[in-house]
């Protein structure tokens, strides 16, 4: 490891290519923190956006007109507005309405921090697409299969949980895959409300070191690898869920 750090320093001295997040322990720490913040933000948002998708699609089939309307309104609102505006809306508009708490240093602090608002905002953003994705999958499940479950006495919840969702899931995995990749890319917006994720930390580093080109190349490659891992995982999952003789 030391040799690697040393290599980066030599690289800088001999070529001027400046990678302080390798040789400088302070910048390295910032970069690693940023990386894990991005991973944490992505994983939490992936999780909640899928949950929102599943519940939203269930509510969309509700017999109650107003439940369906509210879900549809939510989808329209979040699909037809920029995610950055949504994020600002949550952080600045709603965030300032909430009560403040006293922090350890005796100062006033918003009850929810930037990270939490990013989770809320991005989960609802990706969740709106997930509801539509799950709905299309649910519509692909034949009525006759549902009817067979009804005839066996299944409740609506059991039908959804044990028949509709597992079948719909397999149909929508490619579309879900796409949306989740988009979500990971969209986590960079959290930069705008000073969540110390990877892009934010990279910005800090290039401000101190004036090495924008190197940092941007590094960012591109890192996101490329990160998203690559997600895609690889989703494809494996897709294959693992494949049922002999079902679907194309």
């Amino acid at each position: 490891m030391e040799a690697f750090y040393e290599w980066a320093r030599v690289l800088y001295d001999s070529t001027g290519i400046n990678l302080p997040f390798i040789y400088d322990s302070y910048d390295r720490g910032r970069m690693i923190d940023g990386f894990f913040t991005t991973v944490k933000l992505s994983v939490i948002c992936l999780f909640f956006s899928v949950i929102i998708g599943i519940i939203g699609a269930w509510l969309q089939n509700s017999p109650l007109k107003w439940t369906r309307r509210i879900v549809n309104g939510y989808i329209q609102l979040f699909r037809n507005t920029p995610p950055l505006v949504q994020l600002y809306f949550f952080y600045f508009a709603i965030g300032t309405l909430l009560p403040k708490v006293t922090n350890d240093y005796g100062g006033q602090e918003p009850i929810l921090g930037g990270f939490t608002w990013a989770v809320i905002s991005l989960s609802f953003f990706a969740g709106a697409y997930n509801v539509e994705i799950f709905r299309s999958g649910i519509e692909a499940v034949p009525d006759s299969t549902i009817e067979a479950a009804e005839a066996l006495g299944f409740t609506r919840l059991h039908i959804y949980k044990d028949i509709t969702l597992p079948l719909a899931f397999r149909v929508v995995l490619p579309a879900l895959n796409n949306n989740l990749v988009n979500l990971v890319k969209t986590t960079t917006l959290a930069y705008a409300i000073a969540v110390p994720e990877m892009l934010y930390e990279a910005n800090q580093i290039w401000s101190d070191n004036v090495n924008v080109t190197e940092m941007m190349i590094f960012m591109l490659l890192t996101y490329f690898v990160l998203v690559g891992i997600l895609v690889w995982g989703m494809n494996r999952w897709e294959r693992a869920l494949k049922i002999p003789g079902f679907g194309a």
């Binding site: 034949p142 006759s144 299969t145 009817e147 067979a148 479950a149 009804e150 005839a151 066996l152 006495g153 299944f154 409740t155 059991h158 044990d162 028949i163 597992p166 079948l167 397999r170 049922i243 002999p244 003789g245 079902f246």
Partner: protein, 248 residues
């Protein structure tokens, strides 16, 4: 008023059923005693499927009465779960759950609906697989089975709920000719075991062999009925005679 076994298992009186403005059943009455096998035949669109789907409340009823073991089906407060525990149904298109193995398909309803013990249910499911002559196919998915094999799994799946009445809606109509017999054999054995059955079928020879009573429906009414020999040899109604003439 408690139901007793000398009363009809299924008692249909003056049943009317419409889809919107289209009246499909125009006053159907029939009684099915315990252990009886009743076949319903008739031209396409005459309302045969609609009739038996009313018996387990897959279709709602506008007028008239269906009593299943004395329980009124045409009732807003009907406990569908109770009804469906008593009435099993097998469909033309099998409608197995494609993401579950043959064994799991059979086990699902007893586990989820009847909340029976898993080990017990599995034992029962293996017996039923044997009964429909599908040993060795326990772990196969529906997509890996032939139509005839899938239909026998579907029969076993219904039987796992230990119903008192079985409904069959043209269960061999989608099958290749060479697999029709294996399914008919399974139904015949069931009938011989004393299961009460209502079958919609186009298999005239089979109907004649296993039915205790045959009903001929046309345009939503029963135009002729009787025991098989009388029905097939001495049909009086001209429409029945014409239909039998075309088919036999």
């Amino acid at each position: 008023m408690a139901w007793s076994e000398d009363q009809p298992m299924v008692s249909i009186k003056d049943l009317h059923k419409s889809f919107g403005a289209l009246e499909v059943l125009k006053g159907i009455s029939m009684d099915v005693m315990k252990g009886e096998v009743v076949c319903i035949i008739g031209p396409s669109g005459s309302g045969k499927s609609t009739l038996i789907r009313c018996v387990n409340a897959l279709n709602d009823i506008q007028q008239g009465s269906i009593l299943v073991e004395g329980q009124e089906v045409n009732d807003h407060n009907l406990d569908k779960l109770e009804l469906r525990k008593k009435v099993g149904m097998v469909f033309q298109q099998y409608n197995l759950f494609p993401h579950k193995t043959a064994l799991e398909n059979i086990m699902m309803a007893p586990l989820l609906v009847l909340k029976q013990d898993k080990a017990e249910v599995e034992k029962l499911a293996r017996q039923l697989i044997k009964k429909v002559r599908l040993e060795g196919k326990e772990e196969s998915y529906p997509g890996e089975l032939s139509g005839g094999q899938q239909q026998r799994v579907a029969i076993a799946r219904s039987l796992a709920m230990n119903p008192d009445v079985m409904l069959f809606d043209e269960v061999t109509a989608a099958l290749d000719p060479e697999t029709v017999n294996e399914v008919l054999l399974a139904i015949k054995e069931l009938a011989q075991d004393g299961m009460t059955c209502m079958l919609v079928t186009h298999e005239m020879a089979f109907a004649r062999e296993i039915a205790d009573h045959i009903y001929f429906t046309d345009r939503g009414v029963i135009v002729e009925h009787g025991p098989p020999d009388t029905f097939f040899d001495d049909a009086k109604d001209p429409r029945t005679v014409e239909f039998l003439g075309q088919i036999l």
